[in-house]
Amino acid sequence: MLKIWSMKQQQQRDANAEGAAGTKKKKVTAAQLRVQKDLAELEGTLGKTMRTSFPDPNDILNFTLTIEPDEGMYKGGTFHFNFAINQNFPHDPPKVKCTQKIYHPNIDLEGNVCLNILREDWKPVLNLNAVIVGLQFLFLEPNASDPLNKEAAEDLRSNREGFKRNVRTSMGGGSVKGEHYERVIGR
């Protein structure tokens, strides 16, 4: 045991660094540090079509992302996603859910999102930026081959124009195939 300490002292002398004192206070966690860094890197991504809001600014692990697509079939809508990040981030991916009931082939009525990097393809080297870009892309290019809302996916595959009309109806707060959707367009 003494040997380890003499090794440590030598290493410290070599580095000529300042000492770090012990403390009983809580320390910033690795997950917080990583999220803080990821958030700082979003500057170029959010732009004018996306913004974040923090119900508790001290808790950066829980926030809402709002996407307002300025092109594509979902143009004009305002979509909210809840981000819940746990202390095991970035080993675990963030949990992301759409808080509105929307008509989208890759988002089910409960708000679950089918995005590969949120689940099967998540890696600790990925960051929040990748997830946010991925979500944005879902509105530009809804994908019929990864269906989470089967009816919507079938609709998109079989009749793209009809699907577009149904998207507009749902965004206005109307019903599609007997299911009522939440209004996501400003009045």
């Binding site: 045991m1 003494l2 770090a20 403390t23 910033v28 540090l33 803080q36 989470l148």
Partner: protein, 425 residues
């Protein structure tokens, strides 16, 4: 003192073979090593903490006791589904804490060893608790718990106090594979440096679960992720609650029937939901043995210890590979230890941020600062900047307490700087 005919004191007879290593140096022993009583005494008074009383933790506990350690502490909690692979438990033990059962069993079998169980979350203990041990041995299956103990031990290192550096020996197994590593907190590659080595659990795409399940596990995951949310929204799923597991099992069975998939069972439901990785007793034995060898060598100094990672794979014949993992310069835990910084508690946060720009190591352009509890000031996103801007005119004493650690990051640096703010009087 009773001396037996062969001249061996009876109480040491059990340790005859161990004493071969402790009474005389071997070819790889450090030249400054002192054999005999001092070393044996050092081993017997070493207080060691074992975290995890699962399959691996139990093996570790037993091996440490049989390696001459006398003062062993351990922490964990019990669950019924684990009994089959944890040899220290009997059916009568279900419901008792795993730590207590394991302690009682080993104490009975190895006379003279004292095992102190602690039944609770390791996160509930503070640095004072961890400071009492000479080293920590982990046999955990949770990455989160490993990361927590790692960060705690790195954060404890204090140059003023040699006792603050606690070697961490970490073992892990998954089926036929496993690894053991020795971590000297702040000196060598830590668990956070090596986070990429832990393969994230294999996940099936959500749309497969939702539309075209092919395996029984897909139906269970569907019940777990989708059906629960749909029918029991707002209720927190407790994987230890039999009613919850039964509900998931029934949903999964119905879905499996719908898609003609045989094989969904209650125990499989429990396994999938709790992410129970099948454990192989012999893999646990091999990894535990390696961990305990390292603990023995570190405690006695009789031989050089592992530097610093051994990987074992038993699925195709046997393969082991020993290598040195390097410390990552930008490791968020050990890459930049907190520096002490004396500050005037009446200084505003804005003045403090300006002063960081002058510091040689930092020279920060757009710093974002936080403590564990508070976002002190965030440059980005804009909403967070607006929310934290009022802090800029506050005094440091209104935002942090004396001695609190803050982390400062800046887009210009890959790593965060940590400072422990000491208030000048």
């Amino acid at each position: 003192m009773v001396i037996m005919a062969n001249g061996v004191e009876p109480s040491r007879k059990r340790w005859t073979y161990l004493d071969n290593f402790l009474n005389k140096p071997g070819p790889t022993t450090d030249p400054n090593w002192v054999p005999g009583e001092v070393t044996i005494n050092g081993l017997e008074t070493s207080k060691v903490l074992v975290i995890g009383a699962g399959g691996l933790g139990c093996e570790i506990l037993k091996n440490l006791a049989l390696s001459g350690f006398k003062d062993i502490h351990e922490a964990d909690t019990i669950d019924v589904s684990n009994l089959n692979r944890q040899f220290l438990f009997r059916e009568a033990d279900v419901g008792k804490s795993k730590a207590e059962c394991a302690a009682a069993f080993v104490e009975k079998r190895v006379k003279g060893v004292k095992i102190t169980p602690y039944n609770g979350k390791i996160q509930d203990k503070d640095e004072d608790y961890y400071l009492q041990f000479q080293m920590i041995v982990c046999g955990l299956d949770s990455i989160e718990a490993r990361r927590w103990i790692n960060a705690t031990l790195v954060g404890m290192v204090d140059m003023e106090n040699p006792e603050s550096l606690k070697p961490l020996i970490d073992g892990g197994t998954e089926g036929f594979k496993g690894q053991a590593r020795v971590i000297l907190p702040s000196m060598s590659s830590c668990i956070e440096c090596q986070l990429d080595l832990h393969a994230p659990r294999a996940a099936v795409p959500l749309c497969t679960l939702a539309t075209i399940p092919r395996q029984p596990a897909h139906c269970i995951e569907w019940a777990h992720i989708i059906a629960w949310e749909e029918h029991r929204k707002g209720e927190v799923l407790d994987t230890d609650d039999p009613e919850h597991i039964t509900w998931l099992y029934q949903k999964a069975s119905a879905r499996a029937q719908e898609f003609n998939i045989p094989g969904v069972t209650y125990s499989m439901t429990q396994g999938v939901v709790k992410n129970i990785i099948p454990a192989i007793a012999s893999t646990n034995a091999i990894i535990a043995a390696s961990c305990c060898n390292e603990a023995f060598k570190i405690a006695t100094g009789c031989n050089p210890w592992l530097n610093n990672y051994i990987q074992y794979s038993g699925d195709e014949g046997i393969f082991t590979y020993t290598f040195e993992m390097e410390q990552k310069e930008d490791c968020p835990v050990c890459g930049n230890l907190a520096r002490n910084l004396t500050v005037d508690p009446n200084m505003t946060l804005q003045d403090f941020i300006d002063s960081l720009g002058d510091r040689a190591e930092a020279q920060l352009k757009k710093p974002t600062l936080r403590s564990e509890e508070k976002s002190l000031y965030s440059q980005f996103p804009a909403s967070l900047r607006e929310q934290t801007a009022p802090n800029l005119s506050k005094k440091l004493s209104e935002l942090v307490v004396n001695g609190e650690e803050i982390a400062v990051s800046d887009p210009a640096f890959a790593i965060s700087f940590k400072y422990k703010l000491i208030f000048s009087s």
